[in-house]
């Protein structure tokens, strides 16, 4: 009977036991993610493949969430400046070569990437290439590819006017004289490309470098005057449209016979024109005579990746950076959109997939094979100088100022810019 009582008691207690289980506190762990930020500038293609690559990275690293901050180039530089000075910069940044000297003159403005070398495979880069990203001996950034301004010509359009691909400045003026009747321009370009293109012209004409080896200004007011005069003349003789009226769609529509753009922008700028059935070629670097091709032209890392010196998550940032530089996924998505990758790993993936071809590849080869290209000085990309140059050109164009005065003002500004 005792056993029966125990059994009955156990049976009676069973529901209470169950109900007491049901009231137990339940704790459900939420998915914790480390959020890091990535910023870049670029066109539609770059934005799309970078976003896709980020999603792939997040899939591979579910513990990391990447917040993207991107824009087209115009306006991006201002955003970057605001972020850098307000310490709200992204953890991983695509940066421009000139920003290294601007934001990290002593190498302390960005994270020392060599401290993250256990995560980032730096062996994919030669020391010569990494040197582009060093400031004060500190590895602040890793270059993605090399870049230079290049003249791309719609050969089909030129041939329709009986013109050869231009090699000299005179060829461009000659083409303008032929094409003007149809309101066609031999080329069109954005402000920055025009600025760098005309520096080349002034160097070739004057024989002076824009900057000296000691990083002081090599140009005088006369060379700036040459640049302004060239701009005014090119507008007046219908060689190119004013930079304010430059519209890339007019390359697609064969209203511009060519454009000056970075190697990394070749597909982006000329892709539609080629899709429209035009043969687009990489022209020789414009010179006074064909033999001088390459003189006064500059090359630089296309873009670089840097890590914020203020990042709270250096390891995660390094994981993302390694993925962007060296992974197969990113290499295949990116292709040669930014130029031929400097990462040996990324380049091998592209070779394996036979992706090293096309206009951008041809422009890269031209850059590698042409002698005389000099490493670009960061000051050459100074935005204030560029804006001042365009303003000066307009002032001269609309007869508000003389070219001589404009040259003097630009020279003064260069002096003060370099001092500042």
């Amino acid at each position: 009977m005792k056993k029966i009582r125990i059994c009955l008691l156990a049976l009676t207690m069973f529901p209470f036991l169950l109900s007491s289980c049901a009231e137990k506190q339940v704790i459900r762990a939420q998915q914790e993610q480390t959020e890091i930020t990535l910023s870049w500038w670029g066109n539609d293609d770059r934005n799309e493949y970078t976003i896709e690559a980020v999603r792939e990275f997040e899939r591979l690293h579910p513990e990391i969430k990447v917040k993207c901050s991107y824009s087209e180039w115009s306006g991006y530089e201002s955003r970057s400046r605001v972020q850098m000075v307000s310490a709200t910069e992204a953890d991983v940044m695509q940066i421009n070569f000139s920003w290294l000297s601007q934001y990290s003159p002593d190498g302390k403005g960005y994270y020392n990437i060599e401290d993250l070398s256990d995560v980032i495979d730096l062996s994919n880069f030669s020391e010569e290439m990494l040197a582009y990203g060093r400031r004060g001996g500190i590895l602040n950034a890793i270059p993605i590819a090399m870049n230079t301004e290049t003249l791309y010509i719609n050969k089909t359009l030129y041939q329709s006017y009986g013109l050869d691909v231009p090699q000299t400045w005179d060829d461009l003026f000659h083409a303008a004289a032929v094409m003007k009747k149809d309101d066609i321009y031999p080329f069109g370009a954005a402000a920055k490309s025009v600025w760098l293109y005309f520096i080349t012209y002034a160097e070739q004409v004057s024989g002076k470098p824009f900057m000296k080896d000691d990083h002081s200004i090599g140009f005088s007011a006369a060379e700036f005057q040459l640049m302004v005069e060239l701009y005014v003349r090119m507008i007046q003789e219908h060689v190119m449209p004013q930079v304010e009226y430059f519209e890339r769609i007019n390359i697609d529509n064969s209203i511009y016979g060519g454009t000056v753009a970075w190697v990394s922008d070749a597909e982006n700028y000329l892709g539609n024109a080629m899709k429209n059935g035009n043969e687009v070629v990489v022209a020789d670097y414009t010179a006074i005579t064909p033999e001088q091709t390459g003189k006064g032209w500059y090359a630089k890392p296309a873009t670089l990746y840097a890590v914020s010196v203020n990042t709270d998550h250096p390891t995660e940032a390094a994981q993302l950076l390694d993925f962007l530089l060296n992974s197969q996924e990113m290499a295949l998505l990116q292709g040669i959109e930014k130029g031929i990758p400097l990462s040996a790993s990324a380049r091998s993936w592209l070779e394996e997939e036979n992706m090293l071809n096309g206009l951008q590849y041809e422009a890269s080869l031209c850059m590698e094979q042409t002698e005389g290209l000099s490493p670009m000085y960061p000051f050459m990309e100074n935005t204030n100088m560029l804006n001042a140059f365009i303003d000066a050109c307009n002032a001269v164009l609309y007869e508000k100022q003389t070219a001589e005065d404009a040259g003097k003002e630009l020279y003064k500004m260069a002096l003060s810019g370099l001092k500042g």
Partner: protein, 498 residues
């Protein structure tokens, strides 16, 4: 012995009854538990569906609010463009514009616009004039997409009369970008655009229910955003579309889908959907728990029932067994009473074949009255009891032994000896019985000698029924008495065999 077999048979009946009771009880308990479990599961279904509906509905409302908030922020940034006076005063289509001043004004406007959208992931943030001239950031992608129709088609996006603005996605089936357009004046439109993928920040929810899809569609039910990015630009699947048809704010659940819809922004719809089976998958787990608990409860109940049944049935079985014994057994001698003896014997004879051999032996104690009168009834009872014991000693268990009167006993032989003539076998038993009486029952002082007279009738020769055999055995018994008692007589021989 006959009484043991009978008892065994009765006990088997009781056991069968007991087993039936336990089985029946078990089945009832299992059925009850199943019934309760099914009710619980059904109720769980309903509760779970309600809870899931409520949760998805609330998530959907939250997503709608997020979306409205996001769109509102974009509209606010658009409105900020009016902070620069020249942005709404300047008209690039005015033929009287001084070209140089116009350039500077446009630069001023551009700078203002750039500064306003400096931290936004905008693809476009600029002004488009009726002559398709643009100021600010108008991307090549947009210029290519709209081409010569830039102003005219963008102006079609303005749908709200009061604020003169509007949203669109899917222009020329391009769903990569979302456009917001606000009229500045009759010849100018402010344009903001961003990638649809930006909406991930609006709809991203890592803690969402497994299997739930979140979509944003336009009024044509084309997908503007989906948690499955490949769906962007495709029409909403028919099974979801039919459930949200003509609904602006509702949650629908049926056997296939749970769908929640809410209108947001400019006639766009935030739609959350999840296959019902996905929700009920969690229920299935719960169902397993319920059924498992039910099963345990049933097993416990059946086990307890069985134990209780056994425990409760034991005394009853004993009482029944005792009563049964009392009904069949003579209490004094421990052998069958008259009724039972007759019943068993008749029953056995009814099924006997003619080639079988049996014998009915009637035994009458001689001078038993003298024992009672002289030694008392209690001693007489002892004698009767001893006779029962003696009979059990002489006859095997298979034979039926009975007390059929005060001092009269009977034996129905079921046994035989294969190497002995049957009559001789019967004689040997009778002789052994007589000898037993002679040796043991002589009283305390030997004054009263006790003996027995025995009559025997054989089956089938002397009768085939109990009545016939009894009658003939009784005649033989009478013959034994007549011959001087203390002897046995086999019917037909009419001679004692001592």
């Amino acid at each position: 012995m006959a009484d043991k077999e009978t008892e065994k048979a009765k006990m088997q009946n009781v056991s069968r009854l007991k087993l039936s009771l336990i089985t029946g009880y078990g089945l009832i308990v299992i059925a009850a538990v199943l019934f309760v479990s099914v009710i619980a599961v059904k109720k769980t279904d309903a509760v779970l569906k309600n809870q899931a509906s409520s949760m998805v509905s609330s998530l959907n409302v939250q997503m709608k609010m997020n979306m409205n908030s996001y769109l509102s922020r974009m509209e606010t940034i658009g409105t900020l463009a009016f902070a620069e006076e020249s942005s709404y005063r300047y008209d690039a289509t005015d033929p009287n514009n001084d070209e140089y001043e116009a350039l500077n004004t446009e630069k001023l406007i551009s700078d203002k616009l750039y500064s306003l959208c400096i931290m936004e992931n905008f693809v476009d943030y600029g002004i488009v004039y009726r002559n398709n001239h643009t100021v600010g950031k108008i991307s090549n992608g947009t210029a290519t997409l709209f081409n010569d129709h830039l102003f005219t088609d963008l102006s079609q996006i303005v749908s709200r009369q009061r604020t003169k603005d509007g949203w669109t996605a899917g222009y020329q089936d391009n769903f990569k970008r979302i456009y917001y357009v606000k009229q500045i004046h009759e010849n100018a439109l402010l344009v903001i655009s961003f990638y649809a993928s930006e909406l991930q920040s609006v709809f991203d929810n890592p803690e969402t229910i497994n299997g739930m899809e979140i979509r944003l569609t336009n009024q044509n039910q084309d997908i503007i955003y989906s948690s499955q990015s490949y769906e962007v630009g495709l029409p909403l699947s028919p099974e979801i579309a039919e459930r949200v048809q003509n609904q602006s704010s509702a949650t629908v659940i049926d056997n296939a889908y749970l769908v929640s819809v809410n209108t947001c922004g400019d006639d766009w719809y935030v739609i959350c959907s999840i296959p019902t089976k996905q929700i009920l998958r969690e229920k299935n787990e719960m169902q397993l728990y319920i059924l498992f608990a039910g099963l345990i409860a049933a097993v416990l109940a059946v086990a307890m029932g069985a134990i209780l049944s056994v425990k409760l049935a034991e005394p009853v079985t004993n009482i029944v067994s005792e009563l049964d014994t009392m009904a069949h057994i003579d209490q004094l001698t421990g052998i069958l009473n008259k009724r039972s003896f007759e019943e068993y014997t008749e029953n056995r004879l009814a099924h006997a074949f003619n080639f079988e051999e049996h014998a009915l032996i009637l035994i009458d104690i001689d001078n038993f009255k003298g024992v009672n009168d002289t030694l008392g009834h209690s001693y007489g009872d002892k004698v009767l009891s001893a006779v029962g014991g003696m009979m059990r000693t002489v006859f095997p268990d298979q034979d039926y032994l009975g007390r059929i009167g005060g001092d009269e006993f009977a034996v129905f032989l079921n046994t035989s000896e294969s190497d002995m003539n049957y009559e001789s076998y019967v004689s040997s038993k009778c002789e052994a019985l007589c000898e037993g009486f002679r040796n043991h029952y002589t009283g305390d002082d030997g004054k009263y000698k006790i003996s027995a007279s025995i009559g025997v009738a054989l089956f089938p020769g002397h009768g085939k029924t109990f009545k016939e055999l009894y009658k003939n055995a009784d005649q033989a018994l009478y013959a034994s008495k007549h011959r001087g008692k203390d002897t046995y007589t086999i019917f037909g021989s009419q001679e004692g065999k001592l």
